[in-house]
Symmetry: C2
Subunit: 323 residues, 2 copies
């Protein structure tokens, strides 16, 4: 019954967006409706004739999300700590364990989507059929949706203010044909602004959040904010992951704590949240990400992969305890 | 004449912010007016009786910013690439060259401010006098303003939607007594959303932007967006800095390109923008940042510092050419 309602269109105040070619050309956004093929048709009817679009979209969101058993958000206070890396490898690890085709990833980083590149889906696009828009398919049939799939080219920035980002995230949750999933992982941009707030408000049934950090104190200051954020919004904290935890010289074997050490464990204990584990620095990880192959597939025997799988076990235990 | 107008207050719609202790308590933000000591007095007058506050604030902004010779924004597509590190050390380097007290840093990362910690100003607060609110004073009398100075504790997240962030940035530019500066460096959060867009729109006279990246391809995808963003908004691009460029094992001397190599140079040449230089990975940098001492002060003889000073020379040349 909601099939056709998936094709919404939006009326957006002009100050919200900036997708124009020049400073002066602030006219119409080309991403006004992200997923619809019937924009012009519906737009012709005029806003007042459409019966409460927002309500219909929220109903559709609840219907679609009702078929997703678990929802996990991956967050961090600070950027560049490896949120997307954790999300992508976690998705693949969960899919490996008998859930081929039943794991989804929503890349909710509207400005800096990096999930597609890490999953070898750089050139992917979303396709729309009668029931709605279908996710792209990554390794082990992980279903992936990202803003990157909607941009004309990778060079195009999405110059949007917050409310438009909320609308985009709502559409990603409501208008995408996610199907029956065991888990949907949501990769959020750093910070505690529009995107994480929108996801928290749109999915109050969230199972929990995984918080990613690096060991440095500068990063710790910011990760505390992420913990407080999750608590204030009532999202359970699955635990803290420490990424970039020490570098072992491949030649002489000496360990160097480039970004200091032990910060993740320390903060987890101070903030009284579980510590899920640490992932060492490994050149291969960066190379694998650049090549679009999750490192737990490409280098499954590495120390990083082994550390990662321990972390996956803890997340599995958390989800099983909730089932 | 504008002294008293510095004390503005704001009327904010409720959906913009979330600073409440519980999910239900979405009443009044404690940061509604960031810098004013006369909120309640003015608020009592009612909105309609205050003659065009926005216009007065913009006049004040132009007056204050008119005394700042150069404005540079430090941006990146992706987080965690070292924007704040570059900003802080650039500020100190410029101050060292005979501009003690005439360099300012605006930390415009509302959600994840890390400038204060890196400058040893973790405990600093802003103080307000008759002409307005005064910046905190860092090494070499660099004037620093950050959201961190307004928060009750470092654990408090700023759970704000975009429009409120724009308001905060406008207040930072208009209500702070910056004084006569040679240069104001603005450290922006990653992405191309509210904060960078606000700064670009509030300061159309911006001298230019410095774009920071790390060598990885994943990061390059996103830095392209930053270049396009700057171009679309008419901000000159001073150049690209590559941070975390290779790690030399302190024990055996072997070089490892942990985050790949040459990405910064490659992207600069592909996007036809100047390449300013690269900063190698150095454990000491992270440690110095954690201790609140810019590495170009603490480890001025390191390879990283030497590389950094070359980069500063290029930025100086750019500014001199504009003078």
């Amino acid at each position: 019954m909601f099939g056709n309602q998936a094709l919404f269109w939006l009326i957006l105040p002009k100050w919200l967006y900036y997708t124009a070619q020049s400073k002066e050309d602030l006219t119409q956004t080309k991403y006004g409706d992200l997923l619809s093929g019937e924009i012009s048709q519906k737009a012709g009817e005029g806003a007042s004739h459409t019966p409460d679009r927002n309500q219909l979209q929220m109903e559709l969101l609840h219907k679609r999300m009702g078929r997703v058993k678990h929802k996990i958000a991956v967050i961090s206070g600070k950027g560049g700590v490896g949120k997307s890396l954790v999300t992508v490898n976690l998705a693949v690890a969960l899919a490996m364990r008998g859930r081929n085709g039943r794991v989804g990833v929503l890349d909710a980083d509207i400005h800096g989507p990096s999930v597609p590149k890490m999953m070898g889906l750089k050139e992917a696009r979303l396709h729309t059929g009668p029931p709605g828009t279908f996710p792209a398919i990554g390794p082990l049939n992980v279903k992936v949706v990202s803003m990157a799939f909607l941009l004309p080219s990778a060079e195009d920035p999405v110059i949007w203010r917050g409310p438009l980002k909320m609308t985009a995230i709502r559409q990603f949750l409501s208008d995408i044909v996610w199907g029956d999933l065991y888990v949907l992982l949501i990769d959020l941009p750093p910070g505690t602004g529009d995107e994480p707030l929108s996801v928290a408000q749109l999915l109050p049934e969230m199972d929990g959040v995984v918080i990613v950090t690096i060991p440095s104190e500068v990063s710790q200051v910011v990760v505390r904010k992420a913990v407080t954020f999750a608590r204030k919004l009532g999202m359970p904290i699955i635990g803290v992951v420490e990424n970039m935890s020490g570098f072992i010289c491949p030649k002489c074997g000496t360990r160097f704590d480039i970004f200091q050490s032990g910060g993740g464990q320390k903060i987890a204990s101070e903030m009284n949240v579980p510590f899920l584990g640490s992932i060492p620095i490994d050149q291969k990880i960066c190379k694998d990400s650049d090549e679009g192959i999750p490192f737990i597939i490409k280098h499954s025997d590495s120390l990083a992969s082994k550390s990662f799988m321990e972390l996956v076990n803890k997340i599995e235990d958390f989800l099983k305890a909730k089932s």
